[in-house]
Symmetry: D2
Subunit: 364 residues, 4 copies
């Protein structure tokens, strides 16, 4: 399908998520990194000199030698992946979108914006309709993926919601160090320790899940009414967020039915055979001591979500554990899958056609 690769740029490419983007895009069958941007003090430097490379895949020489660009919308491509810090992402992403780019953002800045999809391709591909609304204004568009913890939780909810509605969800997370970026958490703080607080995280989980499961009517989102209570903890785990979830459902559901729903679940990415789509987006592990971050975070190359320990809850309906790789499925990998879905669904072409038309009009 893609004879020549689609050029893309990575905004804010030196941090934890930016590096994951590079790692995942190095050998991507559709996309090719043609620019990487960084903050003022990095611009003009070789990538290898500006970034403290933390991935275990060695940094390829062509990326190592790439010079870092300014994060301004004059990059020769139509798609940009944003790994920008939320402190600065809001305005910059807006500028890129207004300048006609498809911004595939991992930042939290625009997640709750009215016309911005909070997209997980297996869960709510219909939110792409919002991209069309953005494009219809003659600009580019912003697409976001949810908070790194919310993604895995949402993926565990989706097959369940196909059967029965959720009234309320009690969530306690145990989140990995890499979720704090780099340098992120001080080793003195987290070694032999737990930090029972992650700034802003509980609120994000509580507000994003209702949007992820919103219904769309006439192009408008109507948030899901589920009540969410989240308590977030940082634990001494390198990668992989774990969530302990208890649910109150509209009606009871048999364990076997739910496990079967999880294990047989396929979403759009699987049907469309997208390059980053895991064969099994959700995997229920029946061993009583699973899932575990060290063991299962890399299932499906970090794109599968693992679930375990489904059991009745004494006063809600059921409880279980969800694990997902926070910087792959929960960040760069999720964003990449979003981009693949957009391309496959023709939204890049739509953008490009609209640009050609505008250009033609402009040159009359």
């Amino acid at each position: 399908m893609h004879q020549k690769k689609i050029p893309i740029a990575i905004l804010g490419a030196t941090g934890m998520v930016g590096q994951r983007f590079i790692e995942l895009l190095i050998d991507h069958p559709w996309f090719e990194i043609i620019a990487i941007t960084g903050s003022e003090r990095s611009v003009g430097k070789r990538y290898a000199d500006a970034a403290h490379w933390m991935m275990t895949t060695p940094l390829p020489e062509n990326i190592a030698d790439m010079l870092i660009d300014s994060t301004v919308p004059i990059l020769p491509c139509d798609i940009v992946f944003s790994a920008l810090d939320s402190k600065v992402a809001g305005e910059i992403e807006d500028n890129f979108a207004k300048s006609g780019y498809l911004v595939i953002s991992n930042s939290s800045s625009h997640r709750m914006d009215e016309n911005v999809p909070l997209l997980i391709p297996e869960v709510n591909p219909s939110q792409l309709e919002l991209v069309e609304k953005q494009l219809a204004k003659g600009t580019g568009a912003i697409v976001t993926n949810p908070n790194c913890s919310a993604v895995g939780i949402a993926m565990s909810f989706k097959p369940l919601l196909d059967i029965v509605d959720i009234e309320s969800a009690h969530i306690v997370t145990m989140q990995a160090i890499s979720g704090a970026g780099y340098p992120g958490v001080s080793a003195f703080d987290i070694t032999d320790n737990i930090i029972p607080h992650i700034s802003g995280e509980e609120k994000k989980i509580q507000i994003e899940l209702p949007k992820i499961f919103a219904s769309l009517e006439d192009g408008n989102l109507f948030y899901h009414a589920m009540k969410i209570s989240a308590q977030c903890n940082r634990v001494p785990v390198v990668d992989g967020h774990t969530a302990c979830i208890s649910l109150k459902l509209k009606r009871p559901i048999a364990s076997e039915e739910l496990i079967n729903a999880w294990n047989t679940f396929k979403g759009e990415p699987q049907k469309l055979n997208l390059p980053s789509a895991p064969k099994s987006p959700v995997i229920y592990l029946k061993e009583h001591h699973f899932p575990q971050p060290k063991m299962h975070r890399n299932l499906g190359k970090g794109m599968s979500v693992s679930i375990g320990r489904l059991q009745p809850c004494t006063f809600m309906d059921l409880k279980f554990i969800v694990l997902s790789h926070n910087t792959i499925r929960g960040a760069a990998g999720g964003a990449l899958l979003n981009a693949e879905l957009l391309v496959k669904k023709g939204l890049l072409s739509a953008l490009q056609n609209s640009k050609l038309k505008n250009h033609a009009l402009a040159s009359c």
Copy 2:
């Protein structure tokens, strides 16, 4: 009060909890270790040769040189502390009790027995009444302390229950490595990892809390009706169990009132000035990232329970975090405080008098 120290023995003294008993009893103002027992293969060995000493306090030479006794009820003392493994504790403790000993047990074997107190001196000292019932049969008695996670949780509940009743409690624990004993958890399993299961632990928390808060009428326990849902995880922390708790209450309560109740709470041990009683049994920490195991597990020499992050819960009433030292307050220290309470309340004297009387009768 105690001119000559009370001789005591430690049953099963080579493991993690046995060592904590030794550490806490070495310089105890009331008690003196006169015997330590172990399994068959340890009997007759020097303690230092049979045990892999893990405490950071150096092992005193007099204990190091003590020879390990068989765990049979012929020890020259009236009080024995049991750090026996639950697999064997049931029968052995029974034998000791029948033979006239006060068995201060950390094992789970007899916790749910009808006439056995599940005692936390600050929380339910009235359960001592059950000891009297046992003694009344002309035997010794067994006193237990709750599961290591349940203790801290119960201590956080007590000042709250003095204000308003609890309908249901949702509990997710993050438990320390030392809770599994020694050698316990494999380092390969827990380094950079979480194990979302601890055998039997969830059930213990769920059944013990209603007994801890039972009411006593005519010497019979009526369990509290609170519904408990517990999910237990092992985390890479050496000492200190953390619990994330959400509560449904009979009626709302103001945060300030609860915090004040926690911070001003005193129990019997504080009133009686027991040697192992912490000045503050419960400490609310107002910093938003507290309590933390590494920072707070040793408050009150490991006998204080730390609480933090009190906040409203979206669909229950409130939530907070509790931390307690699992092998001190949650095990050996808790048992020791139980023993101190028994002695102070005259139950050792009662036992001894009854023995004298029996002896007198027997020799008539």
Copy 3:
């Protein structure tokens, strides 16, 4: 070359190294697992039920369902990989060799035997001559790979020894948890800690390196005269042994020459293009804070050795750091590469021909 796969068995397949063997052999182009053996209490069980699977690659169903065989030499294959514990490996491996098997052993039992190669294919492939000596006796043969720490050290020495001789080597290791097998090290012992002793390890390094670099004359090994002093420590790292090495050389050598020798080094496995041979067996990393276990243990799929921090030593000649994956290059992967070399060099065919001949003679 191999149209039909060569059947192999794994002896002692339930432990850490046995599991690595399975992981590496699942999709091997030449070999096919046809039997797995275990201890008495595992025999007859499904592998999935007998083993606590610890690899991050999911256990394939065909292996999960395989029934565990006794470890006796009646297996329908010519090659067996031994992951047996050293306590029992000695006699069992002898039996297999006498019964005509090629025993590819990771155990230490026979490493120092006169006619048994202590083989690293990149370092001393000429020791295969010893296999021929064993086969010449009409039996099978045993081939061993060195201690997990010694392998990486030896690979760092080889390109250097091609230039200048080593007089003495001072070695301090920091060894991973997985090196102790499973359950191995207690998490209580190693979390937030170092254990400055590993039983038998220092001696193994000190005696094995002279054999690895032995010269062969008329089929006899003459050990290298290098003096080795090793001090071994266990550190809280999951996989990957690090060694700090200082060397006294026969004459000085320029850093650039040595770095170049390391980076350009190729051994027999690379020349023969063996399936498990890493492209670069030795990689010098110029960053001043490399190599690091988490970053580099998986280079070359765990078969490359990483080196860094080459610098002059104040009173010896030079010093540097070596890192290797202890259960891949240092154990199962190294053994597998040994097997590949044996097959490629015709020693399996030699064994099979000799068996045919014996069989023919026997049936006369």
Copy 4:
């Protein structure tokens, strides 16, 4: 002796070492904290608001409420403890010394200065002579303690050097996270990892040990001729630096003699009964797997150095392991002991008398 406590100030009191100073000085029998200073952005804030308190001893309220002063020499005391970062310590400490203060510094800035003692009270108390040289110029004086790793190593050398001279020392360290200050090492970097490099550390160990053991003739230091080779690693340990040491001696020495020398060693602080002096400055542990950071770093309240695993070295003379608490004995505790020695030896009085005299002269 000290009826009224001696007022002192702590310069740079918000970091890791500054906090240790506070913790150690809170209940000090001689000294009383009357001021704490910080960087520009902290000045005027409450200490509790400016510092991220990391000690497990709760921060006392009187310190929490203390306002942070500028780090300028107008503090109402004669002794200042410097926990300043080496980047700024040089000039600031000079200013304080010139202004008449006794500067007890933990910084590396002035350690190698000609007239500045590099003091360990048990090892080289005679270097106090250099303080007199400084005071003789009519100024205050600077006293430094060595690098956190060098201190423990030097203390292990001292009893040995009392018997036989050291020709060369090969040192490999495994250093704790707290040695990097706060936030210091990123948890992402060090969890499940080793970093085989600590900036500047190897050089410090190599140059400081010869000064520590310098001989003093006519007030001039003549550095010891021992050759030192150090290789430094960061490991995932919270507190406690471990060093693997091999020594070449002028002549052989019996193990028993050395062990006895270590275990019976007493220095000036022990003889003078200084408040922070541990009873046993050096402790040889005979268990083959000791010393261990988690077990032994707090011996002697963190002021004792633990040694273990004495054994012959294949080509040097002997080797052993040394452990010391890097932020207590290796930093704040060591500096405090230096101050206690200075006071006990009359150098504070000397300074005060000289000031009085100058003042008297000035007011003539």
